[in-house]
Point group: D2
């Protein structure tokens, strides 16, 4: 039974073709299907109305890129067995399965476990259900597999995850700043001393990639109004918990934890917010109304820390915070460039444009949000 499935995707040529029955089985798993109900960018759609795309589509998109990357590497003579191919594909396919609703905003609200750990727990459970079919995938994901470059395809400064989300977020927001020459970068990938590297000719594309990420960071991911909306959602959850400590609270030690967690998605949060709007509590009602009707607080960015926000009731409506971005992480393993003559240099030395000064630069911004003038808290 050689079933072949075509999954539509507007980002790459319109579709992805899958024929591995193990991969098809994972895609059909309820926990994977659940990611259809979790938006990739949370509340960002309040600023970029097209940004309704889901983690489901991102995970499949990353699989698409992994397919191509493995093909390119094999064509260049890198040895990758069939089992390793499948493992790398499954690892990238499942790399975000542990995300809950509005993950980047409220991860620690629902359960005090980072999403990477939940991802691993879920992978292991599915692996059990599938009789060990995910063994290699889990080893690659956890970076215990002996071929290190396979893990780097899943998680590194130039992995299929970042390549997909940058292109995908750019497509759905309409922000052309994030467009990356994905195909070109992938065609330039290579392996040198068990490390994922980029062929010399790909150096400009990598520069573009690093810069695109930086620009997307401020133009989309840390957009003022998105930060303001995130704060409202956080304050809603905080207030709701004060009124009822059991709200959306899960215990990771419970044996039903994963099953309960897998029931939660964006829809539940938004329906609860609409429901709490009618609750007797004035603070909670007001916060929920401002999110549902999109009457968001004013927010100001600055280079110096703001004084602390108000205390007491006002603290639900006003506050301060800090954002920091470095486009490139030296602590992490550097992106390396492979020259025709065999030399292999980190991008910070290889690039004429992006020297260490540029790459190390950290941008820190402080913010202060408070009710818009004229609006009633």
């Amino acid at each position: 039974m050689n079933k072949r499935k075509i999954i539509n995707d507007p980002v790459y040529d319109g579709f992805l073709s899958v024929d591995d029955p193990v991969i098809l089985q994972v895609i059909d798993h309820p926990w994977f299907q659940r990611q259809r109900r979790i938006k990739q960018l949370g509340l960002t759609y309040l600023v970029y109305p097209g940004a309704m795309h889901t983690r489901f589509s991102h995970m499949l998109g990353a699989l698409n890129l992994m397919n191509r990357a493995l093909e390119v590497l094999q064509q260049k003579g890198v040895e990758i067995t069939d089992e390793e191919c499948r493992g790398a594909k499954l690892a990238i396919l499942l790399h975000d399965i542990g995300h809950g609703p509005f993950s980047h905003t409220s991860e620690r609200v629902f359960v005090d476990v980072p999403h990477e750990e939940i991802t691993l727990m879920m992978m292991e459970r599915i692996n059990g259900e599938m009789g060990g079919a995910l063994d290699t995938a889990i080893a690659i994901f956890s970076n215990t597999y002996h071929k290190h470059f396979l893990h780097q395809l899943v998680s590194s400064q130039l992995d299929m995850d970042r390549l997909d989300y940058l292109g995908r977020d750019s497509f759905f927001t309409g922000v052309s700043e994030g467009i990356v020459g994905t195909d070109r970068i992938i065609s330039m990938l290579n392996v040198h001393d068990d490390e994922l590297v980029v062929d010399e000719k790909g150096i400009y594309s990598v520069e573009k990639f690093i810069i695109s990420r930086r620009l997307m960071y401020w133009q989309v991911y840390m957009h003022k109004t998105v930060i303001a909306a995130d704060q409202v959602l956080l304050n809603i959850l905080k207030r709701a918990r004060e009124l009822d400590p059991t709200v959306f609270r899960l215990d990771p030690r419970s044996p039903e934890f994963l099953d309960q967690f897998a029931l939660l998605d964006d829809d539940d949060v938004m329906v609860a917010v609409k429901h709490w709007r009618q609750s007797g509590d004035e603070i909670l009602g007001s916060l929920c109304g401002s999110l549902v009707d999109r009457r968001l607080p004013a927010i100001q960015f600055g280079c110096e820390p703001f004084g602390n926000g108000e205390v007491g009731e006002a603290s639900y409506f006003e506050g301060t915070g800090m954002l920091r971005n470095r486009s490139y992480d030296f602590a992490d393993q550097e992106i390396k460039v492979l020259y025709k003559d065999g030399r292999c240099l980190p991008i910070s030395e290889a690039s004429d444009q992006l020297d260490r000064h540029f790459l190390e630069k950290q941008v820190t911004k402080y913010y202060h949000y408070r009710p818009k003038q004229g609006s009633v808290s």
Copy 2:
């Protein structure tokens, strides 16, 4: 106070610019913001994962096209006053505001009133709140305004609604068949004897538009699997009503009707479906599970009617139906082409490619859905 707002949209150049305070006020209305939570294509995302786009984005997109169309017509010497411009913009902006969740599937389930009527009721209520600022818009929308072509821009065989949704649905599904030369068609619009017409040079673009609609109809709007998913949702709502007749039932005669209706969106339906899955009723639980986890029935299309589906319990899991499409409606007013020599001919006569035979052709398909082999109802 000349506030100017830029709204991001990946479909056209990345954004829409609005500076009319009346239009901005309408966009900020909670009933308009609610359309952020209603998907344009309902359950289609189960086949085309990118199709998460909302009615909110469609209504703004249609406004964008209206802006351009009015500009083109004025440049060609068609007289349109400022108040008429605003009226036409508000009419297209609000033309879908009466849609409820999963509208095309379940319109008559929530309330037995067509969405066009609810739209009008909502426009009138907002008009009251805004001191009559929507008078002209309502006249244009209801086709009682003396300049008929303004209504045709909002609702006709070549209106801004269709132009936007065709392009938008094509963009988000990734189905290139629906790509339309929107800008070119709009640049060819003209008015002749108070009727919206197309300049001679635009004839090929109109042909493409008619054909694209037809192809999108079968490839997206009436996609087999989408029809199957719609049937599951309908059966869920039918069963839920049998168990509790008050479920999601609204009374259009109630004075609170519009306010209650405006509280409903896609999220409520999906959360209810997840909730009902745990209900004691086996039928309802099974149906809900199949929608949530995307285990949809098998569906078969044919040219002849299928025998009736099963009776009794099975009727929730198996059934038949019919779909019909004609790409072009002769009963409706025909699209007209204006020649340089002053003649004005209907497209069915003007087009060499699309003669009456092609345009009149009606395609009817019958379908039969039933549980996939191996799955348990």
Copy 3:
């Protein structure tokens, strides 16, 4: 020596990757490089200024599609040997190598041999130079190879030639009507009884393809002004020949024929036209001036034949003609659709939209061109 070359192409993902040394050698051949100086669409750039793209880029683009098609077929279990793969690639790569300058306009002017024959002559000469490396390619091209479907990939109603030129011409003219879901069509290709067929799911894409071709035909290939410009060029060559019968005349029986032919490209024709402008002959000078400065004759299309144009001198400036198009050729082998149940039907039966009536329809147009009012011949 495993040289790998990346050739940039804006149409598909930005590039094409080639590593077969035989293919690289053919691309480097002066006769192949010469196609960089022959525009794919001749004088069409006088109407669509972006349409400067060359046969060189088309031939490489068709190779790109062939690569993908062969991969898809192999994945579906169609047996294709390495030598056959290379043969099919070389056949499509060279399928247009015999084109001369402004081919569709003036093919018979330079030499009275159809370009397909010159292509074959050139392929055979190169084959000699390369020690028979093109044997399989020539057999496939000439349809003498025993696996018929390989020829169909090169030349049929759904070949890589048409798929590339439709998409490419659409890209460079900016006429969105021609956009075809190329990747999707290719992913739907299959082989049944040694015939190239399309899987059932690809039926809408094929419909779109047939319609796109038809629309491109009238909107681009037979655009009024392009026809007018072609007539001017033809009249220039006719007049130049009358004044000097040796002008651009090649003898296909001469042993140097191919070498001489390979020296000719668009540049030579345009420089000659600029040169003849200064010739003493008033008729030739006037015609050349009108082409160089783009003062083209007026042209009128109609459904009935026009009376004959003027005689005598005027015949260089005025004339009539006929154009005919049928989107689909029944005489040629029909495009076939393969159903899951094993049936294989011609598209004219399989398609609900494009029935025999539509497909058979032939559009004939008559034209009459003459000097624009006010201009002096």
Copy 4:
């Protein structure tokens, strides 16, 4: 007579609409039409086969952007009269009219006058023919017009010229690195104290623009192989001149200079090169063959100067040189950002990403070209 012309352009929405009779008259001028035969990027098509686009299409594209920019500024309340609008449009339309064939390579070869001066001479001649219709355009172009920002729209670090060529070159080469959010930048333009500035919200788009230019510089404009091809063309012209000093030599003091210059285009150069290939001179023949058949020298880039190339005959086949790029010019007037609070800061202070260090950075590369191993000079 209100003639309206639609000019097709694949880069922006597919077309440009022009109705000003003065602008239409300029577009129809033979000197403007001549730019159809001069490629925007010279020999770059030898590396990027799609890069056949012409200066004609660039000049019309820049006009398209100027139309939009003027509209945006007027909507923001900047006073611009109808005559100034026309002047700015004509200035950008004609800003490159003085370019000769392969301009950036061989400007000083054909005539020792910079192209800007020839542009001005041509504008003045056309102005004479058109009874002074270009007076304002010439003043704006020459920066003698009292409203300085109009000149900045034509020539500055953020002018319509650069915005068009970056987007256009990116489109036709397929190098996604050059994609710029053109529409967004234009929508952010404003005027402050008679200077063209960018609204605060446009800061990321300007950062992207500066970086894109820098990346395009090395990836396209200064691509190794393009530099090598340029050197071959220069050596061809040098050798041809040695053999015949009158070749392509024009005297700018001659009264027929402009008319003679206007006869020259890319076609003449390429036909001469093909012709010289057959000349008796072995050096010239060999150089010409290597350009026509694209057998280009090997070229090496380095950070240190190479020793001088060979002397004697070899000097036609081998040599060294230097390239330098700074993405941003402080000597030139800086791009300024206008804040909501009225402050106006140069981008080097306004940008968190692109500080002075980055912007000032100059990249210098040295190159050495010589015959490829195995090829015969």
